[in-house]
Symmetry: D2
Subunit: 149 residues, 4 copies
C-alpha cells in the first residue's frame, strides 16, 4: 500500500547536482518518481528527507497540495525507519497528518522524525515536515513488516 518496498532495493547515492550526497531510489517507485523524486540522508543518526517544491506540487491556491505533503510523509515513514526495514518488505497500516503551514514553489521541503516503537511486526513512526524552519505537517503512522525479501 505504499513505497516502502523500494527502500530495500538499495537506494542510489547521488553524486552531482543539488542532491549530491543524498540517496534516492528514483526509478523503483512510479508514484514517488512522478511526485518527487524525493531524497534522504542520514547525518549523525538523524534521517533527513527532502525535495524541492515545484509549481506542479501546488494546489489551486498556489500552495503545496495536502496530498503532496501526505505522499512525502508516507515516504518519510520508510526513510525514518529504514534501519528497521533492511531486507524486509513493509506496508503502511495508518497515516495521520495535521497541516501546520504552507510551502510555495521553490521552497526546500524537509522531513525528520523518529521511530517511537519498533515491535516485532509493527513499527511506529512520527515526524515533522517543514520548510526553512517553518512547520508544514505533523505526521505519525504505523508500518507493518510483511515478509523478508
Amino acid at each position: 500500500m505504499d513505497g516502502g518496498n523500494e527502500i530495500l532495493s538499495g537506494p542510489k547515492l547521488v553524486t552531482e547536482g543539488e542532491w549530491a550526497g543524498w540517496r534516492t531510489w528514483s526509478g523503483l517507485d512510479a508514484f514517488e518518481d512522478q511526485t518527487g523524486p524525493f531524497y534522504y540522508r542520514e547525518e549523525n543518526g538523524v534521517v533527513r528527507s527532502a525535495f524541492r517544491a515545484e509549481p506542479r506540487h501546488m494546489n489551486g491556491g498556489g500552495f503545496m497540495h495536502g496530498g503532496c505533503m501526505m505522499t512525502f510523509a508516507d515516504y518519510s515513514l520508510f526513510t525514518i525507519a529504514w534501519r528497521e526495514l533492511t531486507d524486509m518488505r513493509a506496508v503502511t497500516v495508518s497515516l495521520n497528518g495535521e497541516f501546520l503551514g504552507p510551502a510555495k514553489a521553490g521552497d526546500l521541503v524537509e522531513s525528520t522524525g523518529e521511530v517511537t516503537k519498533a515491535g516485532g511486526s509493527l513499527l511506529f513512526v512520527r515526524g515533522l515536515i517543514s520548510t526553512g524552519g517553518a512547520p508544514m505537517l505533523n505526521f505519525s503512522g504505523v508500518i507493518k513488516k510483511i515478509r523478508p525479501r
Copy 2:
C-alpha cells in the same frame, strides 16, 4: 494546504469519453492534474469521486501508492463537502487514513463519504476509498473555511 479552493471555481461537466456525466476541475489544481485528474458526481444526494488507476500511481510493489490514496482522500474531503463550501475558500486541517487494501493498474478507484458535522468554521468529513467493492482506505478529516471567495 489542499485543493479545496478549486471546487469553488466551478467544476466542468465532462461530455464524452469514460467520464461523460462526471465533473472535474482539471486545469485548476496542478498537483491534482498531475496525480489524477480525479472526477466526481452526485447521485441521489451521494457524492461519488473516482479515477482510473494507472501504472504511474503504483509503488515499487505494483500496488497503488499510499500517497496516491491520501491525495485522492484529500480531494474527496472537498467533493463530499462541496455543498458546504460554495463560494468559500477552505483548507485541510487534518487528514487521517487507515490502509485497508490494494488497487492495481486498471482498477476503477472510487470514494464516498459524508459530512459528519458542519460547524461555523470547521467541517468534519469521513469517507471510504474502494475498488470493485473492496475497501482500500478509510479516511477522516477536518476542513477549515477560511474566507468567502
Copy 3:
C-alpha cells in the same frame, strides 16, 4: 493496551433495569467499570453500544469530557469487532477521533460502526458516537489480535 480482552471472557446479559437485554462485562475491566459501565447489544447484525451520561463524565464546562468519549470509542472498537475476536486476545494499535458535538449529564450516549477490514492479524474499525441522533465523535482504529485465549 485496552479492554479488548474482556469481551472474550463472556459478557453477561442484563436481565433487569434500564439495561435489560443488553450485555456487559462489568467486573472484568477496572477502568471500564470506573468510567462506565458500558453496555452493548446486537440488533439485526448491527452492534450498538451505550451508556448513560452522568455528572462524573463531564469536564469543567459541563460537557462530556473528550477522554470519556475516547474511552467509550476504544471500548466500541471491540464491541463492533466482537465476532472477529471470539477466543482471541487483542489490543488497540491506534485510535483516532474527531469531536463533533457535546453530551450533557442525563444523555443516552450510543455508538455504532463497522469493521472496514478484517485481516489475519489486524482489524480495522470505524464508528460514530452520538446522543439523540446528534453526532459526538467520529472514530477509527486498528486492533491487533495477539493470541488465542
Copy 4:
C-alpha cells in the same frame, strides 16, 4: 468537549506529598478527578504532566486501559499548550493516538510534548506518554480556542 476550560480557572500548587511542587486543577473537572487526578509542572520551558497508575486504571489484561491513556493525552494537549490558552476557553477538535507500550499499577506515567503550530483560532499539539523512559502512547491533536473567559 474536553477539560481545557479548567486550565484557565487557575491550577493549584500542591505543597505536600508525592506531588509537592506540581500543579493541579483537581476539583474543577469531574471526569479528570475521577480518572486522575493528573498533575503538571513546567521545568526549563518544558511542560511535564504525570500521574501514578493504580489498579483502577487497568484493563482486564492488567495493563493501563487505552481510554485512560487517551484521557491523559487529551489533558496533556491543554497542559502543553497552556501558555497559548491563558484567559481563553478551548475545546479539542481532534485527537489521534498510537499505542506503543503498556503501564502497570504503580508505574509513574508522564507526558511531554510541544505546540507544533499556534494559529489564531487553532492550536496544534503533539506529545508522547511514557513510563520509566518506555514509550506508551504517541499522540497529536488540534485544539480550537472558542472565546475569552
